[in-house]
C-alpha cells in the first residue's frame, strides 16, 4: 500500500547549512595537515621528455614534489567507471610520461602552506614531445565507433529498433528532417573537487564530496594495493555533484600517496580550471532526427541518429534513443548511436546526460511537426500519448504525461496562445513567445541495504546507501521513517555518504530516492515488527521509545536488503564491490519513466535582442512526492539548468592546442539570479505502487529534460526562427526576419 501524501516539512539539514556548519570535504583540517597543488600539462597530447622540479623544490616550505618518475610503481589504474572500474578516467595520470589531454597533471607539490604549494607548482618545468590532436567532433583525426558494433555490453548498447522506421518515414505524408548540435558542457558544482587524505594506522581516510563513496573506496584500494577495509571515505555532504562526482577522481590517489610519503594529512583543492580539464563533462553531440506523421497527425515513424564525443582512451557509451524511442506511441523507430574518439579526458555524465539533449532534438521536431500539421503542440502530444512502451510493448509502471500537459497548460494559460509565430508583442516591440515541451527520464532502482536503529531516547538512525548532494534525500528519508514510526522527522538522522556500514552505491541517474526511500521504509516496517515482538502488552498507541524503555532496551536495530524487480541475488555482491548496480527503465513486467511538461514564456528585447525567460510552469509525474519542499526546489533548479543549457552554457574548445578555453565560471556562463524569473511547479503526486511500495519514481534529472526545447519552441513562436544549435544566443536572433 502506498503512503499517504507527505507533509511540507523543512529541509532537515538546512539549519546546519545556513550557519555554515555543515562540513564538506575540504572543510577538514586534521592536525599537522599540509597543502598540495598540481602542475599540469601545457600540450594537447604527447609525452613528457624531461621534467625539472628543482625550482619548485627550492621554494621555502616545500616538502615534496612527485612526478610520473616517482609514481609508476606506486599507483595502478582504477579502471573506467563504464568499463568495470571505478574512476572517471581509465587512464591514471602521473604513472607514465604519456599526455592524453591538455591540462593533465604532471606533478603534485606538497608544502606547509597553500601559497607555497601554489608558487612551487607554477615553477615545475617540463619539455614535451607533441603529437597532433583532434578535439572537435568534426575534426580530422577523430575515430568514429558505431556503438552497436563495439565491444560495449549488449543488449544495453544495441540499436533501439521497432517496426520499419525507414520505410514508414519514406511513406509519411508529413516529414520533419533536422540536424541538431549541442556543445560540450561542464557540471560546475560550486564545490571544487577537493580531497583531504589522511593515513591512520595503515588506513586511508579520504574527506571528499562525492556521489559514489563506495567506488572511491574500492578504486583507491585497487590503485594503492590496499584492502577495501583499509580505505574509508567520508562525504556526509557533497557541495553539488550533477554527475561530476560520480566516480573516483584522478587527483585523489595523488593526494593519498603524497600524504603517505610525508606522513602527514594532505589537502588538495583542485582549481576550477584544472577541474574543467580532468573531471568529466557533457560530450558535444550531433543529431539527425527524422519524424513522420500521417495527415491526421498520428506520428508513425522516428529515426534518431547520433554522434557523441568520447575520449581516445575510454569509450563513454550513450543512450540518447532510450529517451526518444519510448516517449510517444510511434510504432516505427530506429535509433543508432556513434561515438567519436577525441583527445580529451573521458566525457561523462552531467545532469540529464542524454535525455536533455535527446528531448531537445525530438521535442523541437514535434513542435515543427505541429506547425506543419497546423495543430496545437499540446494537442499533438496528447494525440500521440503512449499507453504501452512502443519498443518492448510492455506496459508502463505508471505514466501521467497527459495530465502533466493538461494541468501545465491550465496553470500557464496556454488557451490564450495564438498559434502563429510573431503573434505576440509587447508595446515596446519586445517579441513574446510561448513554447511547450515534454520530458522523460528513466525510473531506475539500485539495490540497497538499510540499517535502522532506534534509541530509547526517541532517535532513529537510518543508514542506507545514498549521498546528499542537495537533492534533499536526508529530508525524504526523515519523512518516510518518521511517518512509519510515528515520530517527528527531526528525530530521524540519516547516516549516508560514509563508507564502512551500508554500501554507499553511486547516487546518480535519479535512482537515489527510489532506491534509498523504499529501503528505509522497509527497514521501518521491520522495526515496527521488532517492536511488536518485544512483547509489550499495551503496544498500541505508544511511542517506539516508550516501548523500548518498557522492555529495558536502550536501542534496537534492524537491517533489510532490497533489490529491484528482476535483479538477481548476485547483485548484492556487485553492490558490495562498489560497482554500478542500478536497473531500469526496463523491468521484467513493465517499463518505468518519470515525466514532465514545461511551459515557457520568452521575451526577446527589441534593441539588444537579449533573450529572457520571465516565466516557466513545470508539472511533474515523479510518482509519490516524499519531500514536497525539497522536491519543489529540485524542479526549480532543474528548470534553471535547462535555461542555462538552452541560452548560456558551452565549453569552448581550442582546436589547435586542445583543452577548454573558458575554464572558469566567469567565462563559462551559468545562470545567475537575474536570469531567472517565476518558476511555478506542479506535481501529479500519484504513487507508482508497481515500482515500489512508497510509489516513488525519480525527480532530479527529469526536471531538466524538455526545458531547452520548450525555450527553443518559444523562440520560434516569438520570431519564426527554428534554431537547432545550442546554446541559443543573441547572435542567433539578431536578424528579426520577416515578422
Amino acid at each position: 500500500m502506498s503512503a499517504a501524501p507527505f507533509p511540507n516539512t523543512a529541509r532537515v539539514d538546512a539549519f546546519d547549512k545556513v550557519r555554515g556548519a555543515a562540513r564538506y570535504g575540504a572543510d577538514r583540517s586534521p592536525p599537522g595537515m599540509l597543502h598540495a597543488a598540481l602542475a599540469t600539462a601545457t600540450i594537447g597530447k604527447g609525452r613528457i621528455e624531461s621534467i625539472d622540479t628543482s625550482a619548485a623544490r627550492a621554494v621555502p616550505g616545500v616538502r615534496l614534489v612527485l612526478t610520473h618518475e616517482d609514481l609508476a610503481s606506486e599507483i595502478k589504474p582504477a579502471g573506467y567507471l563504464m568499463a568495470g572500474g571505478y574512476a572517471s578516467n581509465g587512464l591514471q595520470p602521473m604513472i607514465a610520461p604519456e599526455i592524453a589531454w591538455r591540462g593533465q597533471p604532471i606533478a603534485i607539490v606538497v608544502a606547509d602552506t597553500l601559497p607555497a604549494a601554489i608558487e612551487a607548482a607554477a615553477l615545475v618545468r617540463a619539455s614535451f614531445a607533441v603529437e597532433p590532436i583532434a578535439v572537435e567532433l568534426s575534426a580530422e583525426g577523430t575515430q568514429t565507433v558505431v556503438q552497436s558494433e563495439s565491444q560495449l555490453p549488449k543488449p544495453m548498447y544495441e540499436d533501439i529498433v521497432a517496426g520499419d522506421a525507414d520505410k514508414a518515414f519514406a511513406e509519411a505524408a508529413v516529414q520533419v528532417d533536422a540536424v541538431f548540435t549541442t556543445p560540450a558542457q561542464h557540471q560546475n558544482p560550486i564545490e571544487l573537487v577537493g580531497t583531504v587524505a589522511e593515513w591512520k594506522d595503515g588506513t586511508l581516510i579520504i574527506h571528499e564530496g562525492t556521489q559514489n563513496a563506495e567506488a572511491m573506496r574500492h578504486g583507491l584500494a585497487r590503485q594503492l594495493g590496499l584492502t577495501p577495509e583499509q580505505v574509508q571515505i567520508v562525504s556526509p555532504y557533497c557541495g553539488g555533484g550533477f554527475g561530476q562526482k560520480n566516480s573516483l577522481q584522478i587527483y585523489t590517489p595523488l593526494a593519498a600517496v603524497a600524504a603517505r610519503r610525508v606522513d602527514r594529512p594532505v589537502k588538495l583543492v583542485v582549481p576550477r580550471a584544472a577541474v574543467f580539464h580532468n573531471s568529466s563533462f557533457r560530450p558535444a553531440s550531433r543529431h539527425r532526427f527524422r519524424l513522420g506523421a500521417d495527415k491526421s497527425g498520428k506520428l508513425i515513424a522516428a529515426i534518431h541518429e547520433t554522434d557523441s564525443q568520447s575520449s581516445r582512451h575510454d569509450l563513454f557509451p550513450t543512450l540518447y534513443a532510450e529517451t526518444t524511442g519510448h516517449m510517444y506511441a510511434i510504432d516505427n523507430f530506429r535509433g543508432r548511436e556513434r561515438l567519436v574518439r577525441t583527445d580529451t579526458q573521458a566525457p561523462g555524465y552531467m545532469r540529464a546526460p542524454f535525455e536533455h539533449v535527446a528531448a531537445f532534438t525530438m521535442e523541437s521536431c514535434i513542435d515543427e511537426m505541429a506547425y506543419a500539421l497546423g495543430k496545437d503542440p499540446v494537442a499533438l502530444r496528447l494525440a500521440n500519448d503512449a499507453y504501452a512502451d512502443p519498443i518492448s510493448k510492455k506496459p508502463f509502471s505508471s505514466r501521467h504525461l497527459a495530465e502533466c500537459l493538461t494541468r501545465g497548460a491550465a496553470m500557464f494559460g496556454w488557451d490564450k496562445r495564438q498559434m502563429a509565430p510573431g503573434s505576440m508583442r509587447a508595446p515596446d516591440g519586445t517579441q513574446i513567445g510561448w513554447g511547450v515541451a515534454a520530458g522523460s527520464y528513466k525510473a531506475a532502482t539500485a539495490p540497497a541495504i538499510a540499517r535502522l536503529t532506534l534509541t530509547d531516547q526517541g532517535r532513529a538512525i537510518i543508514n542506507v546507501g545514498v549521498h546528499e548532494m542537495g537533492q534533499g534525500i536526508r529530508t525524504a528519508l526523515s519523512n518516510v521513517v518518521a511517518a512509519k514510526l510515528g515520530i517527528a522527522p527531526e528525530l530521524v538522522e540519516a547516516e549516508i555518504g560514509v563508507t564502512g556500514a551500508s554500501p554507499q552505491h553511486l547516487t546518480a541517474g535519479s535512482w537515489g530516492t527510489a532506491t534509498a526511500v523504499p529501503a528505509a521504509s522497509e527497514a521501518a516496517d521491520a522495526m515496527l515488527k521488532a517492536l511488536a515482538e518485544l512483547g509489550q502488552s499495551d503496544a498500541a498507541g505508544r511511542k517506539p521509545a516508550e516501548l523500548l524503555k518498557a522492555a529495558g532496551r536502550p536501542s534496537l536495530s534492524v537491517e533489510i536488503r532490497r533489490k529491484a524487480p528482476g535483479h538477481p541475488d548476485q547483485i548484492f555482491g556487485r553492490l558490495a564491490s562498489g560497482l554500478p548496480s542500478a536497473m531500469g527503465p526496463a523491468y521484467p513486467e513493465y517499463v518505468s519513466f518519470s515525466y514532465i511538461a514545461h511551459f515557457v514564456e520568452v521575451r526577446i528585447e527589441p534593441g539588444t535582442r537579449r533573450i529572457r525567460v520571465p516565466r516557466v510552469v513545470s508539472v511533474v509525474d515523479c510518482g509519490r512526492v516524499v519531500s514536497p519542499r525539497t522536491a519543489t526546489s529540485q524542479v526549480q533548479g532543474g528548470v534553471v539548468w535547462g535555461i542555462g543549457a538552452a541560452l548560456r552554457e558551452a565549453s569552448e574548445v581550442d582546436p589547435r592546442f586542445g583543452g577548454f578555453l573558458n575554464a572558469d565560471i566567469a567565462e563559462y556562463v551559468v545562470p545567475v539570479n537575474a536570469d531567472i524569473g517565476s518558476i511555478e511547479v506542479g506535481f501529479i503526486d500519484k504513487p507508482d505502487p508497481r515500482l515500489n511500495e512508497v510509489g516513488v519514481k525519480g525527480l532530479g534529472e527529469v526536471v531538466m529534460v524538455g526545458v531547452a526545447p520548450a525555450i527553443a519552441n518559444a523562440i520560434f513562436h516569438a520570431t519564426g526562427k527554428r534554431l537547432r544549435d545550442l546554446p541559443i544566443r543573441i547572435e542567433h536572433v539578431l536578424d528579426k526576419g520577416d515578422l
Binding site: 523543512a10 529541509r11 539539514d13 538546512a14 539549519f15 546546519d16 547549512k17 545556513v18 550557519r19 555554515g20 556548519a21 555543515a22 562540513r23 572543510d27 577538514r28 583540517s29 586534521p30 592536525p31 595537515m33 597543502h35 616550505g61 616545500v62 606547509d112 602552506t113 597553500l114 601559497p115 607555497a116 560546475n188 558544482p189 560550486i190 564545490e191 571544487l192 567520508v234 556526509p236 555532504y237 557533497c238 557541495g239 553539488g240 555533484g241 583543492v269 576550477r272 538512525i461 542537495g470 538522522e493 547516516e495 549516508i496 519543489t632 526546489s633 526549480q636 533548479g637 532543474g638 534553471v640 539548468w641 572558469d664 565560471i665 566567469a666 545567475v672 539570479n673 537575474a674 536570469d675
Partner: protein
C-alpha cells in the same frame, strides 16, 4: 577561545569538527588567549610558513573578537579564515571572485574574501557567517533561507546569506528585480534563485525592524 569557535552541529553524522582539529587549525589565537599559548602558536606558525621572517603582523577583529595574526602576505583572506582560523563557513568555489561562495563582510561591506589579501584586513572588522548571530540563534536572513528552502547542496549558502544581508543593508532589496540584480554576484548552481529572492523579500522588513 572556546567561545569564538563555531559551535559544531550537534547531531549530524560526520559533520562536526573535533576539538583537536579546531585547535590545530587555528594558526592564530585571540589576543586574550595569546599569553599562555604564545610559544606554541609561534612555533606552529614557523612550521607552517617555513620562513617565519616573511610573515606580516595584522591586527583585526573577526566576528567581534580582536585577533593578532601573523600572515603570509600571499594568503587570501579566504584561505586564512578557512585554514588558519577554522572558520570554514566561507567556501572556495572559484578563487577568482566569480562565484561569491566566499562572501564575507569587511567593515559591513560585502567582499569576496578569495580576492582580498588577508593582510588588507589590518585595522578592519571582518564578519563571517559564523558571526552574524549569537550561539545557536539564527539571523532573520538565515531563518528566511530555511523557510523558503533557498538552498540545496548548501555550499554557496553562507556566501548567499552574507551577500543577502548586505543587499538589504545597502537598500538594494526594495523589489524582486532589484534583489535579482544585486544578488547576481553569487552563483547557486543548484538553482535555488526563486527561494533566495523570496527569502530576501521576507527577511528584509524583519531586518529593518530589528
Amino acid at each position: 577561545m572556546e567561545d569564538q569557535q563555531p559551535r559544531p552541529p550537534a547531531h549530524r553524522f560526520g559533520g562536526e569538527l573535533t576539538r583537536r582539529e579546531v585547535v590545530a587549525a587555528a594558526g592564530a589565537v585571540p589576543l586574550a588567549a595569546m599569553l599562555p599559548t604564545a610559544a606554541a602558536a609561534q612555533s606552529h606558525l614557523a612550521g607552517r610558513t617555513g620562513h617565519n621572517e616573511a610573515t606580516v603582523t595584522v591586527r583585526t577583529v573577526i566576528n567581534g573578537t580582536p585577533r593578532h595574526l601573523e600572515l603570509d602576505p600571499r594568503a587570501s583572506l579566504l584561505d586564512v579564515l578557512r585554514e588558519q582560523l577554522a572558520l570554514t563557513g566561507a567556501k572556495k568555489g572559484c578563487d577568482h571572485g566569480q562565484c561569491g561562495a566566499c562572501t564575507v563582510h569587511i567593515d559591513g561591506r560585502r567582499v569576496v574574501s578569495c580576492l582580498t589579501p588577508a593582510v588588507q584586513t589590518d585595522g578592519a572588522e571582518v564578519t563571517t557567517i559564523e558571526g552574524i548571530a549569537p550561539d545557536d540563534q539564527l539571523h532573520p536572513m538565515q531563518q528566511a533561507f530555511i523557510d523558503h528552502d533557498a538552498l540545496q547542496c548548501g555550499y554557496c549558502t553562507p556566501g548567499q546569506i552574507m551577500a543577502a544581508i548586505a543587499c538589504v543593508q545597502e537598500g538594494h532589496a526594495t523589489s524582486r528585480e532589484q534583489i535579482r540584480e544585486y544578488m547576481s554576484g553569487n552563483i547557486c548552481r543548484c538553482g535555488a534563485y526563486v527561494g533566495i529572492v523570496a527569502a530576501i523579500e521576507d527577511a528584509a522588513p524583519k531586518m529593518r525592524r530589528a
